[in-house]
């Protein structure tokens, strides 16, 4: 099974979210997701300043194999996007939890994090696929 950091929260649609502890959170896709997608060739990110609601479409990741929608795990305002991904989308394959992050959001309701899956719950979802 692929890598699943304990400190993250997960969505069934294979996004991870990290609580940065200052009211913001960082979002990316899981190791399992990047492995299933294969080489990522393009990514469409939300815009800085954009307001997202939890569960809303926040972007698209395209690999050699398929296009996959990215959903927002939590609501809030996008405060940063990972511009490096524009020229180096393969970073998502190489470092899904590190340099391959997608965007950072200022959470409007941090309690939304509590409703998300922990690593063990997500592992079961991923293993069932």
């Amino acid at each position: 099974m692929s890598e699943l950091p304990k400190e993250l929260r997960y969505l069934e649609t294979h996004e991870w979210v990290r609580n940065e502890g200052d009211g913001t959170a960082t979002v990316g896709i899981t190791d399992h997701a990047q492995e299933a997608l294969g080489d990522v060739v393009f990514v469409e990110l939300p815009e800085v300043g954009q307001t997202l609601n939890a569960g809303e479409e926040a972007g698209v990741v395209e690999s050699v194999k398929a296009a996959s929608d990215i959903f927002a795990p939590v609501s809030g305002e996008v405060i940063a996007i990972n511009e490096e991904l524009e020229d180096a989308p393969e970073t998502i394959n190489q470092s899904p939890y590190g340099d391959g992050w997608f965007y950072r959001i200022r959470m409007s309701d941090p309690s939304e994090l509590d409703a998300l899956m922990d690593a063990d719950a997500y592992r079961e979802v991923a293993e069932d696929e």
């Binding site: 060739v41 469409e44 395209e62 398929a66």
Partner: protein, 365 residues
């Protein structure tokens, strides 16, 4: 569990991601499909394509049988070792399969057909053999390793016997020779120079290891698809099938109309289509904007009516943008639009060949 080639354990040991392909457990990639693609364009890569079916045809009627069975004319094979790309058609002119046929000797031929269609092909071939003195012999005992790329010939020679190396030096494009247990064909599915080695399955693991040691990198079926698509080569089941005429699949060139007295299966139907004119054609598409063209997306034109459909689409690692094959109304040319998840994205219609020998070749259609 699917069918497995003699190299299955080798692929697993190399860390391959294994997927089902036409009922076979095959390597999709060994890490990065894009890296593997570049290896073939720039150096030398090898594919296990043992899932493809080798069928030997022999007997006193072998030539006349294949002249009847195939759209291309095996009568054009004038010397042992020469190869021909051909379609096997149904009476309506639809494509049952595409294949390569090699002339081995007088009334002795070798066919290599697709894995997903092999059972159907064999049944058809046996059915059509009534009245011909031929033996149709599937060869599941053989493995196929395709070594492709600008350094492929040199790397294979470095592990070959002296006789095989000499034979490779003398081997013309699209021809084959037999040396000991190796059947060596200068053919492939990548748009690069290279060889397809058909060897006893029992020798496949050792040969693969020798090639690995000689610096040939393993390449999975994922890169095989992007390589063939860049080269503008059709994939059976995507770009043509039994419901599609070769004349609408950019495969008219494989039909040998001469000699006119040769009666092959599908001839009458194709002749009628040719006389009436077809309404669709297979073209290439390039999209320099962000995104990836995918099979089944709809294509429209800014100047002509009707719609077409992408039959194969991918990101081209060599070009750095997306390319596709699409079947569109014959009136389409120049600028077109593709519906990508509800957005109309501009593309250019080009001749269906994008990369040859490592270089971009994009020509307006």
């Amino acid at each position: 569990m699917g069918n497995r080639t003699p190299l299955f354990d080798t692929h697993q040991a190399l860390g391959a991601k294994i997927v089902d392909f036409g009922g076979w457990d095959m390597p999709l990639h060994y890490g990065s499909q894009i890296d593997e693609h570049h290896v073939v364009r720039q150096q030398a890569g090898m594919f296990d394509v043992s899932h493809m079916a080798v069928v030997d045809i022999s007997g006193s009627d072998a030539q006349s049988y294949l002249e009847y069975l195939l759209g291309n004319d095996v009568g054009r094979l004038k010397a042992a070792g020469k190869a021909l790309y051909s379609l096997m058609l149904n009476p309506d002119g639809g494509v049952i399969d595409d294949l390569i046929v090699y002339l081995l000797g007088d009334n002795r031929y070798r066919l290599v057909v697709n894995c997903g269609t092999a059972a159907k092909d064999l049944a058809w071939m046996q059915q059509q053999a009534a009245g011909f003195a031929v033996a149709i012999t599937p060869r599941p005992d053989l493995a196929i390793i395709a070594v492709q790329g600008p350094q492929a010939m040199a790397r294979v020679k470095s592990v070959a016997s002296a006789d095989a190396a000499a034979a490779i030096d003398g081997l013309q494009n699209f021809s084959a020779t037999t040396v000991g247990s190796w059947f060596i064909a200068r053919t492939g599915y990548t748009g690069e120079d290279g060889l397809e080695l058909i060897v006893p399955g029992t020798e496949a693991v050792a040969l693969w290891q020798q090639l690995l040691d000689a610096g040939v990198k393993p390449v999975g079926l994922g890169a095989r698809d992007t390589l063939r698509l860049e080269a503008g080569m059709n994939l059976y089941g995507n770009d043509m099938d039994e419901s599609v005429s070769p004349l609408e699949a950019n495969l008219g060139w494989t039909i040998a109309w001469e000699p006119t007295e040769r009666n092959f299966i599908g001839r009458a139907a194709l002749q009628a289509q040719r006389d009436a004119g077809v309404s669709q054609k297979l073209v290439g598409l390039v999209m320099e904007a962000k995104g990836v063209l995918r099979a089944h997306q709809q294509v429209s034109s800014t100047t002509a009516s009707g719609t077409g459909e992408i039959t194969s689409g991918t990101f081209s690692p060599t070009l750095g943008f997306s390319i596709a094959l699409a079947r569109v109304p014959v009136e389409f040319s120049g600028a077109a639009l593709v519906d990508i998840r509800g957005k109309a994205v501009p593309v250019n219609i080009v001749k269906p060949c994008f990369v040859r020998h490592g270089q971009a070749v994009i020509n307006q259609n």
